[in-house]
Amino acid sequence: MQYKAFQPIFSKITRINKATCELQSRRASYDELAIVNGRLAQVVKIMGDQVTLQVFSGTDGIPTNAEVVFTGKAPVLQVSDELCGRFFNAYGDPIDNGPEVVGEERVIGGPSVNPTKRKQPSELLATGIGGIDLNNTLVTGQKIPFFADPEQPYNQIMADVALRAKADRIILGGIGLTNDDYLFYKNVFENAGALDRIVSFINTTEDPSIERLLIPDMALTAAEYFAVDKNEKVLVLLTDLTLYCDALSIVSNNMDQIASKDNMPASLYSDLARHYEKAVQFPDGGSITIIAVTTLSGGDITHAIPDNTGYITEGQLFLRRNTDIGATVVDPFRSLSRLKQLVIGKKTREDHPQVMNASVRLYADAMNAKTKLENGFDLSDYDQRCLEFAKEYAKHLLSIDVNIEIETMLDICWDLFAKYFSIEELSVKKELINTYWKGKKREVKADSKADRSD
């Protein structure tokens, strides 16, 4: 443990509930850490000589005459290159039987970057996944969550993305990970020979839930060290932030705060934004990209957790099961990358924006056709073609199993366009049609006149 007991000891605890305890003291300072009977706790409220401590590992078994030591400082992390390849708990203590890290002590949850010192993100972050690279292109310095139902393979996808993204450093923040998932990450990274690029802060389901509150700050403090001090491209993975929010609500309920929607604290937006906004592109080349997981309950994105998240992040990647092709896809409708405009058609081929829009529109028409079919109506020829297109589009591009280059994705789209549609049905800029259209130059429908493009 990095906190030395150097202050006098106090006791006389006057109130205890599940997450906090209250005692008399005149020495406490706001946010500082204390040790209550050997457990870490943080000052969350001071009123006169009454100090409220939030005990991270829970208050069970804490006696009214517990030993309380104030450490005089807020939670810290020792940062240095020694962090690499290591696994830590929520306090930054090693859990891999390795030695303590020697480094510079940094207070976690530090201040925000001056917005005028940021640089506009502009570097493409390729994942090989069509539903991401084609429709929701990511950019270095972006912050974006996966919205996923608990049964979806989001941890596998995160691991794939992490290894494919050309990041200098990967920081894994495991929040309430199952032990199996923790071992999964460990194995995947080990097998890929990537362990020395990775730093992990892990809180598993076996650990006390309030400790989770420290994980994002720990992970992001390490990320800032590599991005600022070392000018590295850092990718931070946070899974699962829904469990982080649940821990927040436990604490705030225990502090008698008025809950707002879905039992979440009124400050949920700020609490989440504080972490997500650590994503940044620095002018000197260093960057922090945050990819997170927000698990949904019953696919409900109006719940306060995904809702607040969506308002904060630069888009969201919605994982869905597509029963037509029997695979998980990145849903093209509700998913969004707000930073894609910065790279598509600029860092990628010029036809990217229009191809993306046209294919999503045709896919939407297919979904309408499907509804028609389900309601027992006849399908038009166009409807039929849309459905055929949608199946291939989902299989070759939307499925998360796909791993191809962006140009290949665009080429596949043009192939499918030519196979199923006429130029007019695409509604794509003429110049692009002239260059990329792979079908006949003439309208296929018998009743229409020749296309005028020449």
């Binding site: 925000s112 993100p121 939407a364 007019e424 429908k445």
Partner: protein, 590 residues
């Protein structure tokens, strides 16, 4: 005007997050500003409630490390902004610190910077003369600030009438040099520099009259100008779930609107969205003056990771700066993104104060606070006969996308234009996702607005707007019918009507904010396009089956979209138009 009285000094008694409870022997005032000392840092705070001996202070910074017994120094002043030439192009935080002057990569607690450039000098030309009788807000002279004429005015705080005792001659002067001395009947002198101060929560009302807005503020956004126009000096708001296009719409308007000064209040939103503005605006041109956009822009940035308490201050800071420029006879546009974050900041504090909560735990007086704020916008006649305006457009981020939530409802009572963004349209990528049927502009009901539009756009403009809306409503109705009865279950006319509405949707309503040409449509072009589409609407076509109708209209949409992508009245545009005529003639029944 410096208050020399001694001010209270207090001691910290407790804290929860950024609410600090202080005790002091001497009197303090509600909303008085104070400094809380931690080591050698001084944290700004504001008195928000007094209860017997306890003074509740909202601290504008993180209170980490604060202890009981720390000193709190009161100032006798309310939260004020510093006003003068040099504000344009700056990026401020919510408390008007110039962020570019703060050198460190990370914002340090307690760090402040000057809102103006103290060493700067300006070429001053007097417009008033010795012996003139003046009062607060009257123009004494002018300096050139970027492309605007920045008036140096009698300080807004000056009470009563003054006579100009002396005023400097045309020439270059330092920001803080005395440029005039005024004297009142009691013989008290007031020295005037180019700098003055004003408390942000108090409206500047130095105009002779505020009239109902009557002239259109051109935005270049078709779904706004051609359907629900906003007026200069008017108010509007844009509610919408996340990702539906609030920010993109505001950015587009900030680039394209016919305004002299644009103030961007980024309130609790993403830092990267500010970065986008200050990265791109210096390169983009103001469509009206040809100068760089950044020259007319001021950014107030309280991003979501900056102290929550300053969120409320940020919108008031923006409004007060706007009022300053309005008093100079300028057209000011404020864009606030998002006012919900400000409301949430009020909620967080109200909860900490354990006030009786209103709906969704927002403070009971939320509606009044919002109404009061929106009422500061407006079209004014100044005392010298000139006009100045503040147009205010805010976004609202309804939780869960539910438009019945308190902030949306409260704002609806104050704002006159309502641009509801629809999740469904956004999902279909029909951007801007403004719902054409739900949205409204109350200004269309004003007779003075109608006659303005008749005179400045076209005699039939208002009729065209109404006709277009009717078509869109009918289009939705027949679409519902088709969905219920099936393609074959309805007459062919239904399909025709549906596709005619789709044509308007695709060609007028949808607009690609990221396409150079399509992004901005000047009003002439809007008139041309709307008239063209209404003409097509009136036409009969020789089409046999519903599939023919769909295919034919897709061709029309395709052709008209190409038209939208080409420069207005260019040779290319004319060719596309001729081609359109050919396509129309193929099927048209005369």
């Amino acid at each position: 005007m410096v208050d020399t009285a001694t001010h209270a000094v207090g001691k910290v008694r407790g804290m929860i997050s950024n609410l600090v409870i202080v005790r002091a022997e001497q009197p303090v005032a509600q909303n008085e500003i104070c400094y809380i000392h931690i080591g050698d840092e001084r944290l700004l705070g504001e008195v928000i409630k007094v209860e017997e001996q306890d003074i509740f202070v909202q601290c504008y910074e993180s209170t980490r490390g604060l202890k009981v017994g720390n000193t709190v120094e009161f100032t006798g002043q309310m939260l004020e902004v510093k006003l003068g030439p040099g504000m344009l192009s700056k990026t401020y935080d919510g408390l008007q610190n110039d962020l570019n002057k703060l050198d460190s990569l990370f914002l340090k607690r307690g760090q402040t910077s000057d809102a103006l450039d103290p060493g700067s000098s300006w070429h001053f030309t007097p417009t008033a003369k010795e012996g003139d009788s003046v009062q607060a807000g009257d123009w004494l002279g002018e300096v050139k600030e970027n492309s605007i004429t920045h008036r140096i005015m009698v300080p807004f705080k000056a009470v009563g009438r003054f006579t100009i005792k002396s005023i400097v001659a045309d020439g270059s002067y330092g920001l803080e040099d005395t440029i005039a001395t005024l004297i009142n009947p009691e013989g008290q002198e007031l020295t005037v520099t180019m700098v003055q101060y004003w408390p942000i929560k108090r409206a500047v009302k130095l105009y002779s009259e505020k009239v109902r807005p009557f002239s259109m503020l051109e935005t270049g956004i078709r779904t706004v100008d051609s359907l629900n126009p906003i007026m200069e000096g008017g108010t509007g708001f844009v509610p919408g779930p996340f990702g539906t296009g609030k920010t993109v719409l505001q950015h587009a308007i900030s680039k394209q609107a016919a305004a002299d000064v644009v103030i961007f209040a980024a309130c609790g939103e993403r830092a990267n969205e500010i970065v986008e503005v200050f990265t791109e605006f210096p390169k983009l041109e103001d469509p009206f003056t040809g100068r760089k956009l950044m020259e007319r822009t001021i950014i107030i940035a309280n991003t979501s990771n900056m102290p929550v308490a300053a969120r409320e201050a940020s919108v008031y800071t923006a409004m007060t700066i706007a009022e300053y420029y309005r008093t100079m006879g300028l057209r000011v546009l404020i864009l606030a993104d998002s006012t919900s974050r400000w409301a949430q900041a009020l909620r967080e504090m109200s909860n900490r104060l354990e006030e009786l909560p209103g709906p969704d735990a927002f403070p009971m007086d939320l509606t009044a606070v919002i109404a009061n704020f929106y009422s500061r916008a407006g079209y004014t006649y100044l005392r010298n006969g000139q006009t100045g305006s503040i147009t205010f457009l805010g976004t609202v981020s309804p939780s869960g996308g539910n438009l019945k939530e308190p902030v949306t409802e409260a704002t609806k009572k104050s704002a006159r234009c309502y641009y509801a963004l629809s999740q469904k349209r956004a999902d279909q990528k029909r951007y801007p996702a403004v719902d054409p049927v739900e949205s409204y502009s109350k200004y269309l009901e004003y007779p003075e607005v109608r006659s303005y539009l008749q005179e400045h756009v076209s005699m039939q403009w208002v009729d065209h707007i109404n006709q277009t809306k009717d078509i869109l409503i009918k289009g939705q109705e027949v679409r519902d019918q088709i969905n219920i009865l099936g393609d074959d279950g309805v007459p062919l006319d239904y399909h025709l009507l549906f596709w005619k509405a789709e044509l308007i949707d695709f060609v007028i309503l949808q607009q690609d904010a990221f396409d150079k040409i399509d992004a901005m449509t000047p009003i002439d072009r809007q008139r041309f396009m709307l008239e063209l589409l209404l003409d097509i609407y009136e036409m009969d076509f020789q089409l046999e089956t519903f599939e023919d109708v769909a295919n034919y209209f897709k061709r029309l949409i395709n052709q008209l979209k190409q038209l939208n992508y080409s420069p207005y009245a260019s040779p290319e545009f004319k060719t596309l138009l001729d081609e359109l005529k050919t396509i129309i003639d193929e099927k048209r029944i005369m």
